[in-house]
């Protein structure tokens, strides 16, 4: 029985790995192929590692400028989002107040407002606030749109922390803010890491709002670069996949760094049970 389960688990995990790796490897290989090789479905290794797609990618799209903007936008949108949501999630879990239902609903709404319906109103709002075509405008929009996910992750995690730790801190004379900063924050590290990864990826990959809410090349972010290779009658998919690799690398690094934190709870001394 145990062996059967082990074999099943092995098959299942292998399958998961294969379907997850195929896209990645496919994109990697394609970034070295010519347009016609990609469109003819040539399987396997490209014919010699042409880096010409990478050269084209950097030549045709302002990737450098977009890179800097993307880093700024994604970082600020993530940090701001984590701060705002952890504060809100903490009081929603730990404090008693009347408006709790409405606050929860408020943070949930962002999950269910359709993006296409938001484009026009957001454009009007940001223009009115002189935030059109600014990086700060994008940061605010991404922070707000990412709030629900982070909020839910934070609430769920904080709920698992036994209240006794905070109680002990209060007995020792620690204030509300100090307890939050010194007792709660350190043990919510895994939640910060996971929510941070999700929020970072969202801000890093978002296309539609980035395009609508900025107006000049100097203010734009990386996902827009991918569309420089998709023109009605002249697409260069080799260059597009090269750009995709260039865009994905920081995300993968961010994930690898942060995922250590995801399971850090174990080492830091567990609290649940």
């Amino acid at each position: 029985m145990k062996t059967v389960r082990k074999v099943l688990a092995f098959i299942f995990l292998s399958f998961i790995c294969i379907i997850s790796l195929v896209p990645f490897i496919w994109v990697m290989f394609s970034s070295f192929k010519t347009n016609s090789e990609i469109l003819s479905g040539t399987v396997g290794l490209p014919t010699g590692f042409h880096i010409s797609n990478y050269v084209t990618a950097f030549k045709l799209a302002p990737i450098g400028t977009f890179y800097i903007n993307s880093i700024l936008v994604a970082l600020f949108a993530t940090v701001l989002n984590l701060i705002i949501c952890s504060l809100a999630a903490y009081v929603v879990v730990r404090c008693q107040f009347k408006a709790k239902g409405i606050i929860t609903l408020m943070f949930s709404l962002g999950l269910i407002i359709p993006g296409a319906a938001l484009i026009q109103p957001l454009y009007t709002i940001l223009s009115g606030a002189h935030l059109y075509n600014t990086l700060s405008g994008l940061v605010l929009v991404y922070t707000a749109l990412g709030m629900p996910t982070t909020f839910y992750v934070m609430v769920s995690y904080i709920k698992t922390i036994p209240y006794s730790l905070e109680e002990a801190a209060y007995i020792d004379g620690s204030g509300f803010v100090r307890t939050f900063l010194q007792v709660v924050l350190p043990i919510t590290r895994p939640a910060f890491a996971t929510a941070g990864v999700i929020q970072f990826l969202f801000a890093w990959n978002e296309f539609q709002f980035a395009l609508t809410l900025t107006g000049e090349t100097g203010k734009r972010t990386l996902p827009i670069a991918l569309y420089y290779f998709k023109s009605a009658f002249a697409s260069d998919y080799g260059a597009m996949f090269a750009a995709t690799v260039v865009v994905a690398i920081p995300s993968i690094i961010t994930f690898i760094i942060l995922q250590k934190q995801v399971v850090a709870g174990l080492a830091a001394g567990s609290v649940k049970g």
């Binding site: 347009n35 016609s36 469109l39 409405i102 009007t124 998709k230 023109s231 009605a232 009658f233």
Partner: protein, 456 residues
């Protein structure tokens, strides 16, 4: 706690409803706020304030999708750079780059909804109509009348093409388009056929090619079903005077006409028998690749495709010499003008209006037309822009097409130019159903008519 969520939802909805109803009641105010925000936007987006002294250049805004891998990207950059050089210190063009045609159209529609379109832009896919509706577009007829030199290079043909019923002209075309289809001479020779003169012969040719072991057509029904709909349009446009008139009418009321239904029936057979296995749902790149890799015998497409034939990352070696151009059966040819540039400066400062007009003239004038011809193979609007002999020698397909155009009987426009976007979308989702026999050509036509009616 349990019902709090529901209660608060009810509260929010009620409040929203109340507030929005009042907002609707005072419709005028909303309009005004939109206008005021849009003027603020133009100020912020041009970053520097309006010129206080004469030394400051006037800034104008321009949006373009001709960037990145777009065939005209190089020509576009050159023309804009030349303009900025020529008007240095006087006018500065701020360019918004919008990579990919879809992204361009989506963003321009969003801007049109808050009356903040840039000063100059291409008004394709219904953007021109929106700009006229929202009051931003300027009637260019008076300016054309006042500037005979400019008019020489725009030409009567292009002007009349874009003229409204009331005689106003809201856009200056950016190119003339004349094209038949491309075929693979080797394959045609191998099965002993020549470009068909009638549609029956064309279908026979398809069968012969298939029997000879070749795939006849490079079709695709994804995106805007471009290469498929060109054949369809050519069929409809060559069905006597009625069909021809139909394919030269913008926004037809109904698609339930005999030529359309017969055309759809023909395309159903072609998609089922005479094309690649991936044609249904394929994107343009798939169809182009199938032809350029020598896998299919014909593709309906414009002359902008010819540079690909000598590009070895796209076509097989020596492909350029294997390609021939032909008229559609019944001597049909696509001949039309593009919508082109619109001027959206109504309500903006006088300096900006004048500067933007200057840019529009430059963009559609002799210099720009010849750069676009040389660098991007875009046909000039009139014969007043010379096509040099060198250029002709290098582009035999163009020469051949122009020659064929002289012998054509039917000239028509494309479905993309003549139909609402909703209709073009409908084609893409209905073709698979047609091919898998889920709907009949008649039902297909009804869906198209309904989609057209949903557009305003």
């Amino acid at each position: 706690m349990k019902n709090r969520l529901a209660k608060s939802l009810a509260c929010i909805m009620a409040a929203t409803l109340a507030l929005s109803l009042t907002a609707c009641g005072s419709e005028k105010t909303t309009e005004e706020t939109v206008v005021s925000t849009s003027t603020e936007t133009t100020e912020t987006s041009t970053s520097t304030p309006e010129p206080a002294s004469d030394s400051e250049p006037v800034e104008i805004s321009y949006a373009t999708f001709m960037v990145g891998t777009h065939a005209s990207a190089q020509a576009e950059a050159e023309v804009i750079a030349e303009f900025n050089k020529l008007y240095e210190g006087k006018i500065k063009v701020n360019v918004e780059e919008l990579p990919s045609d879809d992204a361009f159209v989506d963003k321009m529609k969003t801007l049109a909804s808050s009356k903040s379109l840039p000063d100059v832009l291409i008004g394709k896919n219904g953007i021109r109509e929106l700009a006229v509706k929202n009051g931003q577009a300027v009637d260019l007829k008076p300016f054309l009348d006042a500037d005979p030199d400019w008019m020489t290079y725009v030409g009567e043909g292009a002007m009349n093409y874009n003229m409204e019923a009331d005689g106003s002209v809201y856009s200056i075309s950016n190119q003339r388009q004349i094209y038949g289809y491309f075929y693979n001479k080797e394959m045609f020779d191998a099965v002993g056929i020549t470009p068909a003169k009638t549609w029956d012969e064309w279908m026979e040719n398809n069968e012969k090619l298939l029997q000879g072991g070749y795939t006849p057509l490079a079709l695709m029904t994804g995106e805007n079903a471009w290469t498929t709909n060109l054949w369809l349009a050519a069929y409809i446009g060559s069905q006597g005077d009625e069909g021809n008139k139909y394919m030269n009418t913008p926004y037809p009321e109904s698609y339930n006409t005999e030529p359309v239904i017969n055309g759809l029936t023909m395309m159903q057979e072609c998609l089922q028998k005479y094309t690649t296995a991936d044609a249904v749902g394929a994107i343009y790149a798939n169809a182009a690749n199938a032809f350029e890799q020598g896998q299919t015998a014909m593709i309906a497409n414009g002359l902008w495709m010819t540079p690909d034939f000598s590009d070895t990352t796209k076509s097989i070696e020596g492909f350029k010499d294997k390609v021939g151009v032909a008229l559609y059966p019944e001597n049909g040819i696509f001949s039309q003008y593009e919508v082109g540039y619109i001027l959206c400066t109504n309500g903006k400062s006088e300096e900006e209006q004048a500067a933007a007009l200057e840019f529009l003239k430059f963009k559609t004038g002799k210099y720009a037309q010849s750069v676009f011809l040389e660098k991007a193979g875009v046909l000039p609007l009139t014969d007043n822009v010379d096509i040099t002999d060198e250029y002709k020698a290098e582009n035999p397909a163009l020469v051949e097409t122009l020659m064929l155009a002289g012998t054509s009987k039917y000239a028509f426009g494309t479905i993309d130019n003549n139909a609402h976007e909703t209709v073009v979308d409908e084609f893409a989702v209905r073709y698979p159903e047609l091919v898998y026999n889920e709907i009949t050509p008649e039902e297909f036509a009804t869906f198209l008519t309904e989609a057209g009616n949903a557009s305003k």
